[in-house]
Amino acid sequence: MFSHVNTDGRVAVVSGAGRGIGSAICRRLAASCRAIAVLDLDLEPAEEVAAELASMGVDAHTHAVDVTDAESVAQAIGQVRDAFGSIDIVVPAAGNMVGAPIEQMTPEQWSSVITTHLTGAYTLVRASVGALRAAGDGRIVLVSSIAARGIANHANYGAAKAGTEGLTRSLAWELGPDGVNVNAVAPGFIDTRLTRDAAKRKGIDWADAVKAGSALAALGCIGMPEDVAAAVSFLVGPDSRFITGQVLTVSGAP
């Protein structure tokens, strides 16, 4: 009864959409989108997600995109606009995780994480913003992390996510007058390839990592990509039209 905007028939663009949180977001948005652009560095998993979306009745296109390359992102977004006619929702979800103690962190490791998360969000938003303004009820949801509060041995990741939250608030100010809401989700410990690989690199058995992560969450369990996708779905839906510049923590804990 409080819905003001019908989200059916919208067009979404999701980066990092081939796996983990990005792919879960695509599946969740399938219920309210007529078309979804599935962007990922690796085409193969993106194709699998697109096939799944197609089976759900969504017009899904894939684009092999390095989000740190502004030109390649702009080219992909141009193709999305040509194919679908509009863009209503943008979710930059591409990410990586390469950690090291600060004195051992190489400039390459630092840059890799900063550019994938933060610059990758900038390139996608920059390329899409014209279409979002034209949409009338455009939505951007950035993906931060509870690591924005600080995380040992992953200073690049913590800094990138803190930057993501600053980007969220800045874009909320900049795009709000044009009717574009900009928010972020900040997941806690989620079961993804990223977190499984991180545990493996540290020589931690996944079952032990889950146990440790569950102990950190007041609700007593780690999260799944679908938990984050549900929050994103809310932030692009009709019930959140008066919410902007916010970071919604999805971590099973205060």
């Binding site: 709000g176 609700l219 007593g220 549900a230 019930d239 919410i243 099973g252």
Partner: protein, 90 residues
């Protein structure tokens, strides 16, 4: 005083979230921006600044309440949802 008591509610929801998590109960606060109500009257107090979105109405702050109590928010607790058009950014 309204601002002080609202701040206390936000802290209360956080503490209650910790206390009730063991029984799998979740607590989420909704912090609404000033909208025309019986308390504020037709012209709610201004923050003195512009806000990112246009001024809201009661329905705008009621609509998001459905989300925290739904199955879509099962892994969210102790959070405050600012439903204020970006007023809290000022």
């Amino acid at each position: 005083m309204c601002d002080v008591s609202t701040g206390a509610v936000v802290r209360l929801s956080r503490s209650a979230a910790f206390e009730l998590a063991g029984s799998n109960n979740r607590v989420i606060a909704v912090d609404s921006g000033p909208v025309p109500t019986n308390i504020f009257g037709p012209a709610p107090p201004s923050t003195g600044s512009t806000i990112p979105l246009r001024r809201g109405v009661v329905a705008d702050v009621l609509a998001p309440i459905i989300f925290p109590v739904s199955d879509a928010a099962l892994w969210i607790t102790g959070q405050t949802l600012n439903v204020d058009g970006g007023c809290s950014l000022t």
